[in-house]
C-alpha cells in the first residue's frame, strides 16, 4: 500500500434551496406527493421552453464566493444528452465550457490547499421508484428540474480523511452562505469520487475509477479506503487499472463495476439554443457578496475577537449555522458573551442533541431571560434548566412568567427557613453536634436541604447566617 500515492478528486452535487425549480415555476420542495410539483416544462411537454431562475444563478454565484471562486462574466448553459426515465427531456440542462464559477478552493486544517476546478449550475433529474412486488418502476418528476450545483475539485486530495474534511467544510460553507441545506439523507448533497493510484513520487497519474452512489461522508471514506486497497492489490499483481465507473455498495462495503471506459457515454454537449448566455457583471457579484450571510470562519473570528470567547467555544458554536446565529442573537439581547456561550454550547446543545435536531428549541429571548435570572441569582442553574425544558418548542412562553407562577420569584421568610431546619434536625438529630464540631463540613448539606425544599428560592448567604444561629 505504501508503495503508492492515492490521488482523489471529488464531484459534489448540492441542491440549491431556491423556492422554485431552475427552469420553471414549480416548487422546489422535498417530500411532496409524487408528481405534484410538475408542469409542462419540467415534464418536457413539446413546445415548452426553459426560463432560467435568477435566484438559482445568484445562489450559484454565492456558493462560488463562499469557496473563493472566480465568477465568470458570461455563463453558458448546455444540453447534456442521455436517455433515462427520470430525465424527461432526454437531456439535462447543464454547463460545460463556461460555468458560472471557476477556480477557488479550501485550505484544510493541515494547511494543505485543495483546489476547485469549477462550480456549475444544472438541473436535477427525477426519481425512479421500483416496486419489487408488482415488478414495476414508476417515475416521480418532482425533483426533475430542481437546481443543482456541481462542485468539481482538482485531484488534490490524498486520502479519506482529507476528503471528509473537505466535504464537511464545503457543506458548512454552502449552508452558511444560505444557498443549500445539504441534507444528505434527502439526497440534497451527493458525491462522486475519482480515485487513482500511482507509484510514490511518479508524476503521471494512474488510471482512475469513478465511484458513484455515495450518500454519506462515511460512505465516501469507506469507498476511498476500499478502492485504494483494491487498486493497490491489482497493481501489486502486475495488473493495470482499467478506467471504470463503479458503484458503492454500502451493505457489502465494496465497489462494483457499473461500466467500462469502452462503454463511456458520449453526452453530445452543445449550447442550449433556448437559453441565451447570461452576462454576470461585477456589480451583480458585488451585490450578491454584500447580501451574503457571514460564513462560519468569519463568525468564529468575530466570536473570538469581538466577544472574547475561547477558540473552543467559537469552534463549537459555529459548527451549526442555526446555533451560531442563535448565539449571535442572544448576545445582542444580553451582552454576556461567555455566559451565553456556556448555556448555548452546553445546555442548548444537549437539548438539540437529545432531540436529534439542528434547530435550537427555544428563542434567544427565552434563553437570555433565563440566563439573566440565573446570573442575578433569582433562580438556580437547575431551575434555569427546568425552565428551558418548560418553554422548549413554544416561542410564546415566557420563562419569567413561568417562574413567577411557580412562586420561584417570591422571597423566602426566615421563619420558613427555620421550619426546614426543624425538619432537618428532627430527621438527623446528630446534625447539631456535627455542626458544633465542624460547621463547614455540614453547612453545604443544610443549605442543600433548604434549597431543595424552597426550590432554590432561598439565598445561600442568608441560609448560612440563619443556620449558624439555629444550630449553635
Amino acid at each position: 500500500m505504501s508503495k503508492y500515492e492515492v490521488t482523489i478528486g471529488l464531484e459534489i452535487h448540492a441542491e440549491l434551496n431556491t423556492k422554485t425549480k431552475a427552469f420553471c415555476g414549480c416548487a422546489n420542495e422535498y417530500g411532496a406527493k409524487p408528481n405534484t410539483n410538475v408542469c409542462h416544462v419540467c415534464l418536457a411537454i413539446p413546445g415548452t421552453l426553459p426560463l432560467i431562475n435568477r435566484a438559482a444563478v445568484e445562489k450559484t454565484i454565492a456558493a462560488g464566493l463562499a469557496i473563493d471562486c472566480k465568477i465568470n462574466d458570461i455563463a453558458v448553459f448546455e444540453r447534456k444528452h442521455y436517455f433515462y426515465p427520470d430525465l424527461a427531456k432526454g437531456y439535462q440542462i447543464s454547463q460545460l465550457e463556461k460555468p458560472i464559477c471557476l477556480g477557488g478552493g479550501i485550505k484544510l486544517g493541515t494547511g494543505k490547499f485543495i483546489r476547485l476546478n469549477r462550480i456549475h449550475l444544472e438541473e436535477d433529474a427525477g426519481k425512479l421508484l421500483h416496486n419489487a412486488v408488482s415488478q414495476i418502476s414508476l417515475v416521480d418528476y418532482n425533483r426533475g428540474g430542481v437546481p443543482l450545483i456541481e462542485i468539481v475539485t482538482e485531484p488534490d486530495i490524498a486520502n479519506a480523511t482529507e476528503a471528509v474534511e473537505f466535504l464537511e467544510e464545503v457543506r458548512q460553507r454552502l449552508v452558511y452562505a444560505g444557498v443549500a441545506e445539504c441534507r444528505m439523507e434527502q439526497g440534497g448533497m451527493r458525491c462522486d469520487v475519482n480515485i487513482s493510484l500511482k507509484p510514490k513520487g511518479a508524476k503521471k497519474l494512474g488510471n482512475r475509477c469513478e465511484v458513484k452512489n455515495l450518500n454519506s461522508f462515511k460512505s465516501v471514506a469507506r469507498a476511498i479506503e476500499y478502492e485504494a486497497k483494491r487498486q493497490s492489490e491489482l497493481l501489486d499483481k502486475g495488473e493495470t487499472i482499467s478506467v471504470q465507473t463503479r458503484k458503492w455498495d454500502e451493505g457489502a462495503g465494496k465497489t462494483t463495476l457499473m461500466r467500462d471506459k469502452g462503454e463511456a457515454y458520449d453526452y453530445r454537449y452543445f449550447p442550449d439554443p433556448d437559453i441565451y448566455p447570461i452576462r454576470i457583471t461585477d456589480r451583480d457579484v458585488a451585490e450578491i457578496k454584500v447580501a451574503m450571510p457571514k460564513l462560519a470562519h468569519e463568525l468564529k473570528t468575530q466570536f473570538v475577537t469581538e466577544f472574547g470567547l475561547p477558540e473552543y467555544d467559537a469552534h463549537v458554536l459555529t459548527k451549526n449555522k442555526l446555533l451560531a446565529h442563535f448565539y449571535l442573537d442572544c448576545v445582542t439581547l444580553l451582552k454576556e458573551p461567555k455566559a451565553v456561550s456556556n448555556w448555548t454550547m452546553v445546555d442548548i446543545g444537549k437539548m438539540m442533541n437529545d432531540a436529534n435536531t439542528d434547530v435550537p428549541p427555544v428563542t434567544p429571548a427565552q434563553l437570555t431571560e433565563i440566563i439573566k435570572m440565573a446570573m442575578d441569582k433569582t433562580i438556580t442553574k437547575t431551575i434555569g434548566l427546568e425552565l428551558l425544558q418548560k418553554v422548549s418548542g413554544d416561542s410564546r412562553k415566557s420563562p419569567k412568567k413561568i417562574a413567577k407562577d411557580m412562586g420561584l420569584l417570591d422571597g423566602v421568610s426566615d421563619a420558613e427557613i427555620k421550619k426546614i431546619f426543624e425538619a432537618v434536625k428532627k430527621d438527623k438529630p446528630a446534625l447539631v453536634d456535627d455542626f458544633k464540631n465542624n460547621p463547614q463540613k455540614v453547612l453545604p448539606f443544610i443549605i442543600g436541604q433548604v434549597m431543595k425544599n424552597t426550590r432554590g428560592r432561598a439565598k445561600s448567604e442568608i441560609v448560612e447566617k440563619l443556620a449558624k444561629e439555629f444550630f449553635k
Binding site: H40, L43, A44, I45, P46, G47, T48, L49, P50, L51, I52, R79, H81, F83, P85, A88, K89, G90, Y91, V139, D266, R268, Y269, F270, P273, D274, I275, Y276
Partner: protein
C-alpha cells in the same frame, strides 16, 4: 353565395361587422370546403370548436361589442402548433393521438383578435422535409396540380391557403418550410425576424432556426396576421419585440454574385434581370454583393439543424406521452422500439446525422466548424445590410416537381439553398409569387432583409409589384 376566400381580411372583417354575413355562415362554408378537398392539406377540421367560436363572435357583433383585428377570420394552423384540447401530431405516428394541453402563444394571440381556428394542416413529419410528402398521414398535393409536390414542410398550410380553405394559414419555417410551399402554391409567406414570434407551444424542430410564419394569398393579409402573432412572450426567453427598421424612398437592392452566377440553374432568371432593370429605371439602386458563405451555408445548415433535431427529439421516449412500443424486454429496447416504430425515415436520418456530428470526435471539426460558418455568414449579412436594404433571390431555384421526381434527400436539401440563409442569420424573408415556371407551376421570389425589417419588406413588395408591371 359570397366566395369568402376571395375577400381580403380587412374587407372580410368590415363586411362581417356590417352583418353582410355571419361568422357561423363563414365557418360552415369553409368546413364544407375542407371536407370536399382532395389535397390532404387539412388533417382535421375543428368543427365543434370553430362553430362554437363563430356563435360567440356573432353574438359579440350583434351586441355591438368591440371585436378584434381578425374577427371571424378562419385560420388553419400547422399540425405542430398547439391549440388546447385539439390534436397536434406534427404529422407523426409518434404523436398521432396527442392532444395539446395548452395554447401556443401565437394561438392565444390569434384568438385574442377573434380569429377562428378551423383546422390543423398536414406537414412533413416534425417539420423535416422539403416536398410535403413526408407526413405519416399521407402527402399533401399542390393547390395548382394534383401531380405536383406542395412543397414543405408547411405543405398543408400553403396548399390550404392557396386553395381557399381558409383566409390565412400558419406554417413554421426552419429553413424555408413556409416560403418554399408558399412559392410552389403561389401564395405569400414571411419568415419573421428570429425571436419576434414566440416559439412557445410549437413542437421544436431546430430551436435556433424555427419561426412560425403566416401564409396568405396577398401581402396585406400576410402582414396583418404577422402583426397579430408577434411580440415578446414571457414563456420564451429568446423572444423579442420588433424594433421596426424602415427603408428609404430610394431602395437599395442587393444583388448577390453567388446567387446569380448560377443563372442557368434558376428558372426564369431572365425575368429577374428584367425586374432589376426596371427597378434601376425607377431610380432604385442595385448593389452588387459578394457573400462568400452563401454557397457553404447549406452544409453548415445540415450540420447544425440535425444536431438540434436530435436533441429536441430526445423527449419522445414513449414514457410520458405519445406512442409507446409494446416491447418490454428492458428500457433500452423499449426506447429503441418506440422510436424506430414511430419516427419516419427522414426524422430518423436527421437524428442520426445529429448524433454523428456531435460525437466527441466530430464535435470540434464538424459541429463547431458549422457554427463558425454560421457566425461568419451572419457577419457577412450584417455587412451586406449596411450597403443595401434587402436582397432579392428566388425562393427555390425551380417550380414544384412532379410527385415522384425527387427521390434523393440531397436533391431535396438543395431546394433550400436560398431560403436557409434567413434562418441561419435570423433575418426576415418574404416569399412573393413570381409568375410561373417552365411547366406552368408557380414560382416565388424572396426578399431577404436586415433583422427587424419585416414591415419594410412588405412596403418594398408594393414597389416590386410596380416594377413587375
Amino acid at each position: 353565395m359570397i366566395k369568402f376566400e376571395e375577400l381580403n381580411i380587412e374587407q372580410f372583417v368590415l363586411e362581417l361587422k356590417q352583418k353582410k354575413f355571419t361568422a357561423t355562415e363563414v365557418v360552415k362554408y369553409f368546413l364544407s370546403k375542407i371536407k370536399k378537398d382532395k389535397r390532404n392539406s387539412v388533417l382535421e377540421s375543428f368543427d365543434k370548436s370553430a362553430l362554437r367560436q363563430a356563435v360567440i363572435i356573432d353574438e359579440k357583433i350583434a351586441s355591438g361589442a368591440k371585436v378584434g383585428k381578425l374577427c371571424g377570420v378562419p385560420i388553419i394552423i400547422k399540425d405542430n402548433i398547439f391549440y388546447a384540447g385539439h390534436k397536434s401530431a406534427a404529422a407523426s405516428k409518434m404523436l398521432e393521438d396527442f392532444v395539446a394541453p395548452y395554447n401556443a402563444t401565437i394561438v392565444d394571440k390569434l384568438l385574442a383578435e377573434d380569429a377562428i381556428i378551423i383546422g390543423r394542416a398536414n406537414m412533413d413529419e416534425f417539420a423535416m422535409g422539403t416536398t410535403g410528402s413526408l407526413s405519416a398521414f399521407g402527402k399533401t398535393l399542390n393547390a395548382k396540380s394534383d401531380n405536383h409536390y406542395a412543397g414543405g414542410t408547411s405543405s398543408g398550410s400553403a396548399s390550404a391557403a392557396a386553395s381557399g380553405l381558409c383566409l390565412a394559414a400558419i406554417g413554421s419555417d426552419t429553413g424555408g418550410s413556409a416560403r418554399c410551399p408558399a412559392a410552389w402554391n403561389g401564395v405569400f409567406a414571411i419568415k419573421p425576424t428570429y425571436g419576434t414570434v414566440s416559439r412557445y407551444g410549437i413542437t421544436a424542430m431546430a430551436s435556433s432556426f424555427d419561426q412560425a410564419s403566416p401564409i396568405a394569398k396577398n401581402a396585406k393579409d400576410t402582414a396583418l396576421v404577422l402583426s397579430v402573432m408577434r411580440g415578446k412572450s414571457k414563456n420564451d426567453a429568446t423572444s423579442i419585440d420588433i424594433k421596426p427598421v424602415k427603408f428609404g424612398k430610394k431602395l437599395r437592392i442587393g444583388y448577390v454574385k453567388q446567387v446569380w452566377e448560377h443563372k442557368k440553374d434558376i428558372q426564369k432568371s431572365e425575368r429577374y434581370e428584367k425586374l432589376f432593370e426596371n427597378l434601376k429605371n425607377m431610380g432604385h439602386e442595385i448593389v452588387n454583393l459578394d457573400i462568400k458563405n452563401m454557397g457553404t451555408a447549406l452544409t453548415a445548415y445540415y450540420v447544425i439543424v440535425p444536431a438540434e433535431v436530435s436533441s429536441n427529439m430526445a423527449c419522445f421516449d414513449g414514457l410520458r406521452y405519445g406512442a409507446r412500443s409494446k416491447e418490454e424486454k428492458n428500457i433500452e429496447e423499449f426506447y429503441k422500439a418506440t422510436r424506430s416504430e414511430n419516427f419516419g425515415s427522414e426524422v430518423r436520418r436527421r437524428i442520426n446525422i445529429g448524433n454523428l456530428v456531435m460525437k466527441e470526435e466530430n464535435i470540434n471539426t464538424i459541429y463547431n466548424g458549422a457554427r463558425t460558418m454560421r457566425a461568419e455568414l451572419k457577419n457577412e449579412f450584417a455587412e451586406a445590410f449596411k450597403k443595401c436594404d434587402f436582397i432579392i433571390t428566388p425562393v427555390t431555384p425551380n417550380e414544384a416537381s412532379k410527385i415522384g421526381e425527387i427521390t434523393d434527400p440531397l436533391q431535396a436539401y438543395l431546394i433550400d439553398l436560398f431560403t436557409i440563409v434567413a434562418n441561419m442569420t435570423g433575418c426576415p424573408a418574404l416569399a412573393i409569387p413570381f409568375g410561373t415556371g417552365n411547366t406552368g407551376m408557380p414560382l416565388g421570389m424572396q426578399l431577404l432583409g436586415a433583422a427587424h425589417s419585416d414591415d419594410a419588406l412588405f412596403a418594398a413588395e408594393k414597389i416590386i409589384q410596380e416594377a413587375m408591371k
